[in-house]
Each structure stands twice: as C-alpha cells, then as structure tokens.
Symmetry: D5
Subunit: 193 residues, 10 copies
Amino acid sequence: MRGEIIVNYIGSALPDFQVNAYQDGEVKALTADDLRGHWSILFFYPADFSFVCPTELGDLAAHYAAFQKQNAEIYSVSEDTEFVHQAWHEQSEEVGQVAYPMIADPAGDLARHYGVLDEAAGQAYRGVFILDPQGEVRSYTINDMGIGRNAGEILRTLTAAQFVAEHGDRVCPANWHPGEETLKPGTDLVGKI
Amino acid sequence: MRGEIIVNYIGSALPDFQVNAYQDGEVKALTADDLRGHWSILFFYPADFSFVCPTELGDLAAHYAAFQKQNAEIYSVSEDTEFVHQAWHEQSEEVGQVAYPMIADPAGDLARHYGVLDEAAGQAYRGVFILDPQGEVRSYTINDMGIGRNAGEILRTLTAAQFVAEHGDRVCPANWHPGEETLKPGTDLVGKI
Amino acid sequence: MRGEIIVNYIGSALPDFQVNAYQDGEVKALTADDLRGHWSILFFYPADFSFVCPTELGDLAAHYAAFQKQNAEIYSVSEDTEFVHQAWHEQSEEVGQVAYPMIADPAGDLARHYGVLDEAAGQAYRGVFILDPQGEVRSYTINDMGIGRNAGEILRTLTAAQFVAEHGDRVCPANWHPGEETLKPGTDLVGKI
Amino acid sequence: MRGEIIVNYIGSALPDFQVNAYQDGEVKALTADDLRGHWSILFFYPADFSFVCPTELGDLAAHYAAFQKQNAEIYSVSEDTEFVHQAWHEQSEEVGQVAYPMIADPAGDLARHYGVLDEAAGQAYRGVFILDPQGEVRSYTINDMGIGRNAGEILRTLTAAQFVAEHGDRVCPANWHPGEETLKPGTDLVGKI
Amino acid sequence: MRGEIIVNYIGSALPDFQVNAYQDGEVKALTADDLRGHWSILFFYPADFSFVCPTELGDLAAHYAAFQKQNAEIYSVSEDTEFVHQAWHEQSEEVGQVAYPMIADPAGDLARHYGVLDEAAGQAYRGVFILDPQGEVRSYTINDMGIGRNAGEILRTLTAAQFVAEHGDRVCPANWHPGEETLKPGTDLVGKI
Amino acid sequence: MRGEIIVNYIGSALPDFQVNAYQDGEVKALTADDLRGHWSILFFYPADFSFVCPTELGDLAAHYAAFQKQNAEIYSVSEDTEFVHQAWHEQSEEVGQVAYPMIADPAGDLARHYGVLDEAAGQAYRGVFILDPQGEVRSYTINDMGIGRNAGEILRTLTAAQFVAEHGDRVCPANWHPGEETLKPGTDLVGKI
Amino acid sequence: MRGEIIVNYIGSALPDFQVNAYQDGEVKALTADDLRGHWSILFFYPADFSFVCPTELGDLAAHYAAFQKQNAEIYSVSEDTEFVHQAWHEQSEEVGQVAYPMIADPAGDLARHYGVLDEAAGQAYRGVFILDPQGEVRSYTINDMGIGRNAGEILRTLTAAQFVAEHGDRVCPANWHPGEETLKPGTDLVGKI
Amino acid sequence: MRGEIIVNYIGSALPDFQVNAYQDGEVKALTADDLRGHWSILFFYPADFSFVCPTELGDLAAHYAAFQKQNAEIYSVSEDTEFVHQAWHEQSEEVGQVAYPMIADPAGDLARHYGVLDEAAGQAYRGVFILDPQGEVRSYTINDMGIGRNAGEILRTLTAAQFVAEHGDRVCPANWHPGEETLKPGTDLVGKI
Amino acid sequence: MRGEIIVNYIGSALPDFQVNAYQDGEVKALTADDLRGHWSILFFYPADFSFVCPTELGDLAAHYAAFQKQNAEIYSVSEDTEFVHQAWHEQSEEVGQVAYPMIADPAGDLARHYGVLDEAAGQAYRGVFILDPQGEVRSYTINDMGIGRNAGEILRTLTAAQFVAEHGDRVCPANWHPGEETLKPGTDLVGKI
Amino acid sequence: MRGEIIVNYIGSALPDFQVNAYQDGEVKALTADDLRGHWSILFFYPADFSFVCPTELGDLAAHYAAFQKQNAEIYSVSEDTEFVHQAWHEQSEEVGQVAYPMIADPAGDLARHYGVLDEAAGQAYRGVFILDPQGEVRSYTINDMGIGRNAGEILRTLTAAQFVAEHGDRVCPANWHPGEETLKPGTDLVGKI
C-alpha cells in the first residue's frame, strides 16, 4: 500500500482560472481573485437540465441569505456553458430562484483541479468545497452521482471552520453549532474527556 | 491547469490491509474482507488522548444502534497502537462508551491509502468514508484538523446512498431523508423541475 | 520544416466511442458501429443556445431529405449533454425542425479525435467530416469559429465522393455535380486537357 | 481515445519556406513574406499532366478576377518542379489560361507542413487553405485524391472569413453570402433563434 | 556480494528534525540543536503501554544520575504521540519514575533516519545510539523486538567512547571501565601483546 | 528526512561467501552453510598485529567455553589473510590462546555485507553480530574504531535472544539474565507495569 | 575523426521498393525483383525538362545496344512523376530516343536510399550505380549538380566489374578494357610489378 | 525505406587530419591546409606490394603533368606506413615513377572519413575524390576491390568540374571535354533539347 | 580512485579472429584454434621496415629452436599486410632469418584486443603475451615505443609458467630457471623464509 | 572484436593516493608526489607471510644498490597493513634485508588503479611497473600468481627506458644493455637492417 500518490485538498490553494458565470441576467468573467476576501462554497453538480440538480440548487438558494450573513458566497459549478445556464435559469422555476453565480466550466478546469471531473462522462461529481478567505480548502465532501447534499450541514461546517479559523484548532466538539460550548485545550485535559 | 494528477475516491476499492482493532476488551485482526458484506463507516481522527476526538467518538457511539439497524458497521481509525486504544478506552469515560471496533493504524496504511495521513505530523485528518458492501466508496468528507463532524449527517448520507444503491442514481433530491418523496427520472422531466 | 508531426484524416478510421444522441424525443446510445454501413456527415458546432449554430443546423435540416436519398445520415455534434440538446430542441423553433440525431459529446471524445476540440474553451470548431460506409474520412473541412458552412456544398462533395468510390479516382473534374460528364483516365490524356 | 496528438490548422502561422513559382513565363522565388499583406488561397493538387487537376486549375482561373477583387491571391501547389509547370502551361490549353503563380514544391516543404503530403506517393492531397493577411489559416478543406473542389464555394468561404475578421465571430449564419443579413450576438438571443 | 548499498551510522551526523517530548508534566519541542553540546543516548523502543518497554525505561531511569554525571542526556523515543506519553507516565508506576525527555516520533522521522523503523508495524526496533557532543554516532546497538537492553553496558560504552574522544583511538582494551589501565600505541607494541 | 535508504540487519540472512579461516594450526574453507545449525558470533576487528584487538580476542577466548555451552560458535573476522592470522597466532601470547576460527576476509566480502568495512582504510569497524541457527541477525552492535567490546554483554544478549527464540518476543525485561523472572504478555498487562 | 557514421554502398543490397516507370508508351510498376537476374545501371539525374539532363539521357540511349549486349539494363531515375516522363518523352527530340525504362521516384525512395537525394531541392544528384545480378552495388559515382557523366566510361567499368565477378578480384589493371591482358595474382608477383 | 541515415560527400568539407606522406625520397607531414588552394585528387587503393595497385598508380603517374597543368595535385592513399611506401617506391619499377605524394594512413583516418575503409580487412576500397580548392568534394567514385580506375576519365571529370565552378551548373552536357560547346540555361530551353 | 574500469589480461581467453600470416614463402590463414594445443608467444611490434623492430625479430629468431623445444610457437604481429611482411622478409637480411609465422593485423583486431594498439598512430606498442595451450594469458609485458625486449627473459618466463602449470602456483622463487630448486608450500613455511 | 574497452598503462599518470609504508623501523605516509622526481619501480606481490614473495623481495634487495645508482626507488606493494609489514620484516630473515619502502595497500587503491587487484582474493597479481620521474608508466609486466620475476631484467629495462627518455625512441635494439651500440634512425635505414 506504500508509494501511492496522495491528494488531500485540505489547505490546497486556488488554481489560476478564468471562467464565465451567469448571474442575474448577466454573463461575467470570474478569476481566482474574485474568490478571495470572503469564504466561498464551490458546489459542483453533474448537469443542467437534469433531475436531482435543481433541488440541490434550490435548497442552497433557500439558505443563501444565511450564507451571505456568514460572509460566504456560493458558486454552483457544472460543465455546461453560460448559454445553457441562462436557458435553464429562464426555463426552470426552481433554478430561476438562484441568485448566486452559476459558473460555466465546459473546459473542465475547475472540476479537474478539484478531482471531481468524471472524464468519461464529461460531468462533475457532487462535490462541495468550503474555502477560506485565502482560497484554501478547509473542508470538502464528494458524493457519488445520485446522492444529494444538505445545505444545512454545509452551513454548520462553514461556521465551525470559521470558529476554528478564529480560535485555533483542537476546540470544536462533534456536531458543534455556533453558540454551543467549546473546549480549551491543555495538558490537563489529556485522558480526562 | 491541465495534466495534473487526480484522485477521486468515489467508486475506489478497498486496499489489501491487515490491522489490529480493539473492541470489547479484545484485540483482533481485521482485513479488507471483514469490511465487505455490509456498509462500513471509516471514521479517521488525529490522536487518542487528544481533545475533540473523544466527543466525536462519543457522538458516533450515541448513534451506533441506528447505524447497525442500517446494516452498517462503524470503524474508528487513528495512528495509535491497539495498546493505546485499550488504555484510552479504560481511562476515558466518553471513549469507554464506544462499542464499535477501534482500528490501530500505526504504520499509516489505511490513512495513507485514503489520502488523510498528515505525513509531517504522523496523524490523520478528520475524514469519514462511507463504503458499500463491496467496499467501494460512495461518499466521503475530509475536514481540517479542528472541525468536528456530525454523526446525524453521516447517517442521513448513508441512507441516501443505500436508497440510490437500490433504486439507481438521479433520484434523491437535496437533503433527502428516508420516507420522503423521491424522483422518477425521464425525458419528460428535463427542464420541468 | 522537416520532422513535424502530421495529421491527415483522409482515410483514417472511426475511433471506438460511445455517446448519447437526442433524436425525436428519445435519447439513445450510439457507437462506431452505428456509423457504418451508410455514408455519414459528422457536423461539429461550438455550443447549443448560441448564435450561428441554429442557422447551420436549420440549413442542414432543410437538406436532410436529399442526404437521406444519397444513403447518408447526418450527425450534429456539440460538447453539450443530451439534456441540453433536448431542452434546446424543445425551445428553439429552428432547431426544433432537426430530425437527425444530435450527438452529446460532453467528454470531448469525438471532437478531440477529429482535432476540432478547442481545449481552452471546451467547445468544438466548425468542422464537417464526410465518412464512407467503412467509417473512413473521404473529405473534411474545418472553419474558424464564426464562419458558417454550406449544406449544399457538403451534399455536392458527398456525391462526388460517392462517384469516386464507385468508379475510382482521377475522374471527377472540378465542381462536378451528379449527371455531369466525367473523365476516363489513360495515358492518352496526359497533357491533352 | 485520450492522449492523442492533435493538429488543427485554424490559427496556425505560415512556416518559413522558399519555393520557386512559375507565372507569366517567368520563374521567381517566393517566401512566407510574399504571402502576407493580402488573403491567400493555397490550392494543393496531386500532379501536373494528370487528369482532374487541369479542370480544377481552370475552374480557379475562371474565378481569378473575383478573388483578386477580394484582395486575395491564388497559389496552386504541386510536387512538380518549375520546369514541369512551365512545360505543362505551354502544352495544356486549360492550364495555359492560369494567370496566378504555380508553386513548385518538389521537396514537399509546403505540403508536409500543411499535412497534405502523401509520403508514399510523393504527391499532395487535394487541400485548400484560406489564409488571412497575417498568414494564419481561417478555413481549410482536404479531399481524398479524386474528389474535385469548387472555386465558387472557396470564394464564398473567403468572403465570410473576411466579414468575421472585420466584425468578430458569432455573426455569419450558414451559407451566408455577402450582402445578406447577419446576426448581432447578445444574451437576448439565447434560445431565441 | 559486491555493489550493495552500505549504511554504517558510525560518524554520521544528526538529521534535521523537530519533535515533541514529554518531560516533567510539560510538552516541549526538540530539534537537532538541543542534542548538541553534550553526549546523547537515543533509546528507541516499540510502543507505549506494551510489556518489555517499561522495564527498560525503568532500568535507564535508575541509572539516570550516573549518565548525567557523564554529561550525557537520555532520550527515549517511540512512535507514540506526546499525549500517549503523558497518559502512560501518569498511569504506569515504573514509567512514572522517568525524569528524562520522552520523545514522540509519530511521523517516524527519527526512527526512519536511524534505520530502526519497522515500516510494516509502525513501531521502532530496540536500538540505542550513543552520540557525541557534535551529534555524531560513536556506537550503536540494535536488538530484535523482544531482546531487552542493559543500561549498565550502555554506560560503560559511553565512558569508553568519551575516553577515546579525549585520548585518541587504539587505546581502550576490551571491557574497559574508567580507571582501568589503558594502552599507549607505538611500533614497539606490534605483535607484543 | 523522507526517502532515504534504510539498512537494518535484524532478520537479514547470511550472504553467500567462501573464506579461509585459521584454527588450531590449520587453514580451512568456510561457507555460509558452516554458520548454520548453531548460533554464531561474528566478531569484526580492524587489523592483526594492532593494539586493542588482541585484548578483545583474548576477552572472547576467556569466555569461549561459556559460548560453546550455549551452542554458539565465535568467528573473529579481520581483513588480513590466513597467513597473517597464523603468524600472529604464533607470535602473540594473548592471541595464541584463541581456539575459535579466525576468518580471513582480505576481499572484504563479509565486512562489506555487514556494513562494517571502512573502504578508505581497508579495515573493519568493531562490529559484533549475533546470528541464530538460521543465520539471521538477532542483535548487532557497531563501535567506532577505538571502543572495545565486552564479551560478557555479548553472552548476556545471546542468552536473551535464545530465550526469545524459544518463548516468543515481548517477554524479556531489561538487563535480563538467564534464570531471572520473565513476563507473560496479555491485555491484562497493558498499563499495569 | 573517429566515431563518425559510414555509408559505403559497395556490396549493399537493393532496398524493397515499388515505383512506376515509363517505357515505350506504357507505364508499368517495377520492384526490386525486376532489377535482379541481370546487371543494372541506376542513372539518377536532377529533373525532367531541365538542361544537362537530356544530353546525358541521349548519350546513354546511343550506347543502349552495347549495354544490352553485356546483359545490362539501364534505368534512368528522377523525382518527377510518370506523367511528366511521358510528356517529356513526347516533347523532347533527344529524350524521345530513350528506349530504356524511365523510373518515376516522386516519393524519393530510391534517391534517398542511394544517398543522392538533395532533400532541400527535392532533386537527385547525378549518381550512377552499377549493380550486379544479385542487385548489389559494384561501383558508383556521384557528381555535383552540373557535372555530366560519360556513358563510355560506365560501360568500361561495367565490363571490368563483370570480368572481376567471373575471375575474382586482384586482376584488372587500371583502365582495363575487355580483351586486354589481365594479371594472375600470386606471391611471386609481390613487389615485382 | 524512410528514416535511414544518408551520407553524400558532394560539398562536404575536409576533416582535420595529420598524416605522413612519402615523396621524392622524403617523408613530410600533411594536414588539411596543404590540400587547399588547388584542386586535389584523393586516390585510395587497398595495399602496397599488391597487384592491381601499381598499374593504377603508374596510370596516374603517366597523366601527372596533365593534372598539374590543371592546377591539381594527386595524393595516393593506402593504409600502409610511410616506411612501406618508401620500400615499395624503391623496389617497384612502376611505382618508382610516382612523383606525387604517397600518403600513409595506417590509423585509417582519411579512409574512414571518406567511407572507403573496409574495417574488416584494414584496407581501403578503390575510391577517388575530386576536391575543389576549398577542399570540398565535387565528384567521387568508389569501385569494388578488383575494379581498376581510369586516369583519363578522372582528368575529364576534373576539367568539367572546373568549368562548372567557373560558369555555374546546368551547363556541361554529357561526356563533355574542354573546348566543346556548352549550354546557356534559360526558360526558353525548357523542353527544347 | 574507486569505480575505474580494470583490464587485466591474466587468464583472459583468446578472442575469435582470422588473420593472414607469412611464413616460409607462403601466406596462410590463422585463427584462434591454430594457437591452441601449444604455448604461444604473441610478439607485437610497431611497423615493418622500421628500426628497432628487425633487431628484436632477429633476437627471437636466434632463440627460435629453444622455444620450439619448449613446445612454444612464436607469432610476430604488426599492423602491416602480408604483402609487406613478404617484401620485408625478402629484402632485409636480419628479418630474412625469421622462420616463425609473421602475422598481418592491418585491421588491428589482435592489437586492439590485447590493448596494445596506438589508435592515433595505427601501430602496435611493443607487447609480448605468453599464452598457455588453452590460449589464456599467463604473463605479459608492454614497453613504450622505443624500449626493446629480451628473448632470453621471455624464454625464462615461459619455462617458469610451464613449471607452475604443471606443479601449481606458490612454487617458483624469483628469477628461477629450470633445474633450480623450487619450494613446497605448506603452513610450516609461513614466516620461515 | 571491435568496441571493447582498452586499458594500456603506457604513458598513464600516477593516481592521487595516500598510503602508509614501512621502512627502517618507521611507518610513514606516502603520496603521489613522493614518487615524482626520480624513477620508480612499483613491485606488487600477493601477500606477506606467503611463499614466493620473500624470495622476490630478497632478489630486489640484492639489486637495490644498482637501482639507486640509476636514480630509481623501489616500492614493494601488497594488500597487507603496515602492522603486518613490520611483523614480517622482523620475523623473516630474507625480508629483513629489505631496505626500500614496503607500501601497505589494504584498501586496494594502488592495486586497483594498476589493474593488478584480484578482487575475489583480495590480493595483488605479480605486477611490476617502471615509472619515469613524471610518474608515467614506461614499461610494465604482469605475471600470473606463481610466476616469479627477475630483478636483473627489471634493471635492464629501466636503463633502456632511461636511454630512450634521453635520446628519443626508435633507438634501442633488442636486449640492449648500457654501453652497447645504439641505432641512429633515418630514411636511409629503411629496409637496410
């Protein structure tokens, strides 16, 4: 089992990229710099005009205000073009409620970098990456094709990551939510919990 | 951004391995075969006798019956030896409630295979991998060192993965829980959700 | 100028591939075998829901009967998914008239093989390849992004290629159309035309 | 199908070369610089004193004034020497009408660069390349040996390429001819054509 | 038997490293510099909370004053973390008497450098290395897993090494102890002993 | 510190070799097979007719009966020839008492294999290797040039190794001597010593 | 001057090849087998319709009967096609007298094999190769571009080569012609001539 | 037949070399510089004291005045030493008439460079190279071992090469001798000879 | 000084070779087999018709009977041809007395194999190799160019080599001649001479 | 037989080295510089305390004054240490007469450089190298193990080498001794001796 190549995205930096995103009837270019200075949620999904995808985008849209309150921007990403994002946004009721940027990644640059591109299908796995304001990954989850995600859990993990970023690690107990008690680490705690 | 190496664990098979695990006052050997035939939760954590770790193990212990009801076994994994697992289990009240196998991975074989070994620290990142009865990964999450996990969300994802395994993908909407309505995919749904 | 790599598709065989195609409200899988036994027109274009593309697809749709009469099938190809083809077909009046299969090539397999994939954009150049019933290329044209093609000239070239396939080369004079006089080659013609 | 070498001549620059060309009873040397500053048609054909070739050269000769009016020069190219071009021009009635330069490429430099050299035969495929005033390819077609080309279609494509060069891409609908209506791209057109 | 790779640690320098060590209720970082300026005993053992190990650590603890009198520091090293060292120190009567630093080497850096890491087990062989104040090895012993060491012999070898460091080699007869007679080398001794 | 080459002789097998040895007025050939079937002490020293060396050989000679009683043979090894061993044996009073075989290793085969050959000096370091009846190393010590060894400690380590060979590892406490109490390992001992 | 690559065609065998040749109003294919069973003269020249070339071909044509009488066939070779050979034969009075096969080598296979292809010019140097009935070279001459050859000298060399083939080497004095005295080699001749 | 290495000596420069030559009772050193400034005939032959060789050297000796009149020096070359050249010159009547330098090439430097060294025999093939005053080859002939050369033809080729050097190529008809009519090249001659 | 390539000819076998040798008015071929079955003296010298060489050959000729009596054949070797050997033998009084074979090695095969070829000069160093009846070298000497050898010493070394071949090594004292006392080796002689 | 590696020590320079030598009751270090400025005899022999070796050393000792008179130093070399040289010198009557330096080469540096190290035996072949005052080899002889050398012949060769060094090569006839007539080379001698 030795000698294998390892990829762990925790702490890895944003790649250089330039993509188009559809938001609010406009197409605009986004680069890595646009994802710095605030927390980011990169939310990959397989394909526009497919089935589970709109419910996930809608679930996120319903929590969008809460994410913005935490100084976080959501970016949905699929391998479709910006033309298709616009057409889908105009046609689908649920997708039509999306107010965050919908990134077009037809060349696969972002999906390939984050290891979620299914090269044989030309589609992205359901991956979600939480990036800090430096653009470094602090948490990520990848599900097989049909398994939907949970916007509430993403939000909970985001707030825990923000707490650790402020107070240092070794502090957040399991399933911690903001406002709950935290731990103060020290040699006096060894074996005492 | 082209030409980079990609690691995506979705669908990847179990490696060959042999480890010791402490459970119920006993030390026994585990191999890949022992993780087949039922769903498995591989739950990596940094170190015995450290701070966040016991609360996460306790959170899982509290949901253990629900996991077992779903035909799933939980395996906690750290880079400590079985001697240390036993000593911790005997000494810590919260860890003492753990009834699932605690795998000792001092050679780092499992953590290295699943990309969660911090080689410089000799400790594992907080990673959780949901494996189906064939030992293939269906979902995984990796958090930075201090960010605790949520046993309830792991259970929800497990049940969604089991539903997809039975009924095919393109079916589970976001944040789906057992008993909720699912989708029946077809060309008539394109652009209609 | 010596030593460079050469790619000339004349006479090159079909690659192995499997793609989905949308046709007549259905999605079906196509492989290389489906393109053998009749002449094929592979018609690449950049993107669904973009501008020049529907007029080209409509121009071909208007000549579809003539191609079918020549035992030729038309296959339009873009890097969009079958979901998007369906949505576009349902939404665009001009594309709605398309009766031939619309191939979805999101992984870029066909476009990459035939040298028309713009990797940076994730879109295909405007290339058209005329394949004989063995799947070998007999003529091809590639235009820069904005330059539209001419269905009538494709049809004329197809018929010339079919005439040569039947009667041998060295026979079709320039801009030859079916029914026009052809040449009978021989040493008596050398320098006499 | 991955990992193959790709050659796409769209946008590729002129190679360095020096060849002799026969025109109007004279032999003169041509280099890449002579092909810059105006649009160029590189018109490859297999062999002097063969059959289809004179009719293609004659078809082009008949359209020569129209090409010149579009600020384009025609260059026919074969693997014969300038001595042979002269002898053929003097002997063949149809070739005798050619007023554009007839390039001698006996070393195969141009044909090899543009991928149209049949190395086993020492002859060129029937390829036509439309170059802009920078010497970059904007459109090209390659036919199998016996399939003649159409001077009118070359002229139509040239004018479309010139229109795009002036007004940007995403504008020329299929089979567009000068004077016909063109498109003005914008997000308001998505899915509306 | 020629051409094989040789590793002999005599005279080899300290590697760069940073580890944590538990001593006297505190965890502190140690680097190579901390091991220079005095003689050092690196005492590797397989695992905390295992069987032979505490008796060896206790044997050394009993001789600690004598080592300190010789200007030597003892460093015990295992692949366990500092958390485990603390827990063991607090729980085991024999280990509780250890006053020298207990190095935590969970990443295996020291054990791997000195060739005593059993990679398959993630544990260290029973190796002891005597380093001079420059950090260079002057004597070392490696035993198979179950074979305990002898603190008295380590002390005897240390004093012999110190005598040689002061008076040059070719002087200490076998099983020499401080105060015993030594040899003065010269050509007159050749063959006379 | 990663990626370095490791040599650990514990458990390594005898190399193939053929050497001459002087014993009891005779020169005889020795191969690897002669070192199997009993325990062996390979005792390397720098040079015949030098200073510390005869006292070490004499120390071993004085313990020879005790080693033989433990079913162990002693083999002294230097890089001198058998002619020199004989001459030294005849001339030196202390070496004259040696009754075990004195191996001549002028080609350096044994010293190089066991990593104790100082290539620049053509002499061996003071290394002692304890081999079990299969010829595998169970313990070894290497001292810098002037540091003499202790026949009594070699004997003690031999008997501990033999005890482990018979009763399994995890049994011999530190500085154990035959007849002293040993440990019986089990989970009930974890943390109890 | 050492280490350079050497090519010496004496004794080298015919390559595999297939070319067209024009002879007596016909075009026929020639392969290596057609050049075996009789002596062959491979007569390379730069280009049809050029200046020195027809006088050389005419000089050979005038000696053709003498070559045939010696069981030798003449093959002229240029890089022009068979179409051009025919046109030249029909148009030039001097070339019109050629009755031997005129090989077309537009792919350069023969010229490249025999080292007489000027790759930059796409023309052959003036080389003449005399092949025996096994197709092996017995004599060859290569002149720079403008230097004409001498059919009479080729004939003289052919007859000398035939004499040696029959009677062994070391026999033909300088400028020997058939019927002249030859030498009978032996040790009695050493230093006597 | 593609991809083979080509050696064509036409136009190749003199290598650096230093050899001894016997001439007129003296041995002197020759370098490349000595062969520049006049035309040179390098005349290789297999061996001194052998059979055909003296007749060839004598044939050249008889034409020596004519070569000198053309500003050309003759250099005979064999793989024998200068000692042997002297002995042969003194002993053989025919060789005794040689007044040009006889180069000794026992190391094979010249013969190997010009591709005429039979490495297995240590002898040179019968090669003759005509070099212009820059030391570049303008014509060369290589015969198999027993086939003698013709001094008259060498002289004829030399004068043709000199004529071309002065008046440019494309001028000397076949078997041209000084004083005969030459050609004036131009497009008016194409196909007229 | 480590890692260099070593060539030591003691014990090395004869290479495969075929050379011509002049002896007694005849030229005959010699191969490796001809040098087996008796002892051989390979006597290399720089060049025929040079200065020191004839005196060395004459010195050997004077001892020829004594060598033959020892079942040894002498082979002189230079890089000259057999033609030159014959001419020299006929012309030089001293060389004329040579009755042993004079090998011609113009290709340098023997001299190169035995490391005595001066590649820059194309001549052999003064080397003498004594080969046993198996063709293996038992002694060899190489002198710089001008240093003559001594036939008597070669003979003495030959007889010593033959004595060792019969009675084993470790027997012939320095400067031993046949009939003189020899040594009987045994452990009783160590240090006694 | 081509392409093999050649080692010829004639003219090769001294390597860098440092060795110990025993002379006159002292051990001193020798480097390459100590062997320059006078002629040197490097006299390798297999082993101290063996059989033929003392007689050879004694033979040289008896000629030592004559060598010194020729400005030459003798250096005997074996793979034994300086301790062993001293012991042997003190014990053996014949070796006790040696007054020249006895080099200890236990690391094999000199023997390996001069190609006389038998790596399998760790002993040197009987080689003798005559070095000029620049440290370059002028003559060398290597004998198989048991064949003794002749101090007188070494002395004769030394004086011949010195004569050549002073008067140039091509002068010393075979078996030349000082005072005997020498040769004056010139073209008048060719073939006259």
